[in-house]
């Protein structure tokens, strides 16, 4: 049996992941590229007696060095040399997709085009002459409707054939003057031995690609000199930057191809256009957005509350059964700490986070989230971010861990950092259970709501400070808005699962460990001395009862544990008997703002490194205590 490596490449939102999921089923995992936080999905499948390793490259528009994703994708194809590259192309958006196809071809690996979303294209009246397209591009093309699984197996079949029989390199020529330069340059690169094909190097040098320039400069600085001269000549001749010249040339080719192979009929999908118009409208758009976000939260938290009560009730019943078997000794008590951690995790994932991500996934896959990003752009600019940052912010209301990882959609390091910083300030589902269970239940929903508003104000102020303090220019929104489509349920479910998996892998072990440690503190009576140590902060500054100290510590693993701890240490679940209204508000405020939970800290370390993660954590503790103390004084005036 032979092993074949296939890489999936294409623009964002063309259905790469649907094809990937279709092929690999459950045999897949998502990790990072070594040393870099760019997602890498890998899976294996067996087809016609071949074992196939499938790599899902990130969705990108070009092979330049605009983003880390682009750089990594081209390095992967050039260095790891997959046997076949499947270029997934959106049939409803042929011209811009082919721009990327041309660049992929220049990387010189055997290639197949998966012409996806053929059903949507037909609905829009787009007619593509596949034979002609195949002839011009010189690579096999397979019609695919990924969401229905159509054409997927033909695709793999073709890929295996290509890997075994080899293929003829297609030859797509640029315009006259540019092509002449490329060919001359390709010849002068004759003795350069790099992973990249010579023609690719020549084009990239002409374009002024910094990475490639660095590589060649080390081997032969002379070439760079001639390149710079020639590029200057071209710039003079065309009157534009060198990379604009090359991009224009490529688009000229794709435009020509589209003219030749595609015709558009009359029947355009009116509904999707209408929907787009109204959801981006400067009045109705905002109204619909507010309505859908409020509805989303309302559904999640009413459903979550109901389901979580049942779940907690039945799981806590286990305690008596547990004690029947293991007795009530210290060992049993400690073991119960572990179980309790597990329960805490489950009762937050199943009722809240999972449904939240499923609904959010539906909105994302249908294309609605990019409309929200469009609408929110103006506001996000106030804190130096653009509209796309709103998506991880929304994720944060579920759980901060996948939200932190979701910040990767931001293009530059600086923006990732600001977005991550802001995201961790968003009250996650666990914090919401505390706010609702304490303030919402005993003080009033109005107060609970004001806590959220205070949080948003704080997010705004701190975000703005971070934006002013951190060096660098803000980047602007340049975002494609794909047409609306029916969400693909399988893809949504997968996506939700991967986000939950982030949480389970990072958070569960930490929650359980911390829950165990807290039990140890309890059993050894250390918790009392800790409570006393914390007195100056909890009692004197924040005006909270002494036993709240250990509850604050319990919030480090999972914030919802604070309520449980509060109940056990206060001796009752009727919080009105042990806390005043002011204390509840102050306590919830501190819980909301102080230290991100341990799982989030782990995610922070993973994304931005130790130093920044520790800085954020320490800052948050000090800040929360400060704000809490002020709130206490204001509320008791």
């Amino acid at each position: 049996m032979k092993k074949i490596t296939i890489a999936l490449a294409g623009n964002a939102n063309v259905g790469k992941s649907v094809i990937f999921n279709n092929l690999t089923g459950l045999h897949q995992h998502i990790g990072n590229w070594p040393g870099k936080t760019v997602e890498r999905a890998e899976g294996t499948l067996v087809h016609e007696g071949h074992t196939i390793d499938l790599i899902d490259l990130p969705g990108i528009y070009s092979l330049s060095t605009f983003s880390l994703e682009e750089l990594i994708s081209r390095e992967y194809i050039a260095k790891e040399r997959p046997d076949v590259v499947i270029n997934v192309v959106d049939a409803t958006n042929l011209e811009r997709n082919l721009y990327f196809t041309l660049q992929l071809l220049e990387l010189g690996r055997p290639m197949i085009i998966a012409l996806n979303q053929m059903d949507l294209a037909e609905k829009k009246g787009i007619c593509i002459n596949i034979e002609k397209l195949q002839k011009i591009l010189g690579v096999p093309i397979v019609r695919v409707i990924a969401t229905q699984g159509k054409g997927i197996h033909d695709l793999v079949h073709e890929a295996i054939g290509l890997a075994e029989n080899g293929y003829k390199k297609p030859n797509i020529k640029y315009g006259k003057e540019v092509e002449k330069e490329i060919q001359k340059l390709t010849k002068s690169l004759n003795k350069i031995e790099l992973n990249y094909p010579k023609r690719f190097l020549a084009i990239k040098l002409l374009e002024g690609d910094e990475e490639i320039k660095k590589l060649i400069l080390k081997l032969n600085p002379k070439i760079i000199k001639t390149v710079e001269n020639r590029a200057k000549n071209l710039e003079k001749l065309h009157g534009h930057d060198r990379f604009t010249i090359i991009a224009s040339e490529r688009y000229k080719i794709t435009n020509e191809i589209v003219k030749n192979c595609m015709s558009i009929g009359v029947c355009r999908s009116k509904f999707s256009d209408k929907l787009h118009e109204i959801t981006t409208h400067s009045f109705w758009g905002y109204l619909i957005m507010i309505f859908s976000v409020v509805t989303l939260f309302f559904i999640i938290f009413t459903f979550g509350n109901f389901f979580s009560d049942i779940l907690v009730g039945s799981l806590m019943n286990l305690h008596s059964i547990f004690e029947q078997y293991f007795g009530t000794g210290i060992a049993s008590n400690l073991a119960w700490g572990v179980v309790e951690g597990l329960i805490a995790g489950i009762t937050i994932v199943l009722p809240y986070i999972l449904p939240f991500y499923i609904i959010l996934g539906l909105l994302e896959d249908s294309g609605y989230l990019s409309r929200i990003a469009f609408l929110m752009d103006r506001f996000m600019h106030k804190i130096g971010l653009h509209g796309k940052a709103f998506i991880p912010l929304m994720l944060g209301y579920g759980c901060n861990v996948p939200a932190c990882l979701g910040c990767r959609i931001m293009e530059t390091k600086r923006e990732r950092l600001i977005t991550i910083f802001v995201v961790t300030l968003i009250p996650c589902a666990a914090v919401t259970t505390v706010i609702l269970g304490l303030v919402g239940k005993y003080v009033g929903l109005g107060w609970a709501l004001s806590l959220y508003i205070i949080d948003l104000i704080i997010v705004f102020i701190l975000g703005r400070i971070a934006f002013k303090v951190l060096p660098g220019e803000p980047t602007e929104l340049i975002m494609e808005m794909n047409d609306y489509r029916m969400p693909h349920l399988k893809t949504v479910a997968k996506q939700a699962w991967f986000r939950i998996k982030d949480f389970i892998y990072i958070a569960f072990p930490l929650i359980i460990a911390c829950s165990f440690i807290i039990k140890v503190l309890d059993v050894t009576n250390l918790s009392e001395s800790i409570e006393n140590l914390m007195k100056p902060i909890t009692v004197d500054w924040l005006g909270l009862p002494v036993f709240s100290g250990i509850a604050l510590i319990a919030g480090i693993p999972r914030k919802e544990l604070t309520l449980i701890t509060l109940a056990t240490h206060g001796g009752t679940t009727n919080f009105a008997a042990i806390l005043t209204s002011v204390q509840m508000v102050v306590f919830s405020l501190v819980i909301m703002l102080y230290i991100p939970c341990i799982a989030t800290i782990a995610a922070l370390v993973k994304e931005i490194g130790w130093k920044k993660a520790i800085f954020i954590t320490v800052f948050r503790i000090v800040f929360a205590i400060f704000v809490g103390g002020i709130a206490f004084r204001l509320l008791t005036l």
Binding site: Y61, S62, S64, F66, T92, N93, L94, E95, R96, Y99, G208, H240, D241, F243, T244, A247, S248, Y251, N255, H276, T280, S282, S370, A373, F374, D377, R378, H381, H386, G387, P474, T475, E476, L477, I478, M479, E480, M481, N482, D483
Partner: protein
């Protein structure tokens, strides 16, 4: 076609234009040309309200542009 070039952001909703050039740093220019906004390309201002961003349709796809970027793109109005 009028001779004077103007900023993309100054186009009215529904107006068509042709890209003349992109001002600004390499990063932005590269991104925009990669997305298909090369000189000579025809586009249409699909949505332009009092608020930012604007939306244009170009090469058969919809593109949202922040106002900062949109004022760095020079265009000519196509009558």
């Amino acid at each position: 076609m009028s001779e004077k070039s103007m900023k993309l952001i100054d186009l009215k909703q529904g107006q068509k234009g042709i890209i003349v050039s992109v001002l600004g740093g390499r990063g932005v220019t590269q991104r925009l040309t990669d997305m298909g906004l090369t000189p000579g390309t025809e586009f249409k201002m699909v949505r332009k309200g009092r608020l930012c961003p604007v939306e244009i349709s170009v090469r058969g796809s919809k593109l949202a542009l922040g106002c900062g970027v949109a004022s760095k793109i020079l265009v000519k109005v196509k009558e």
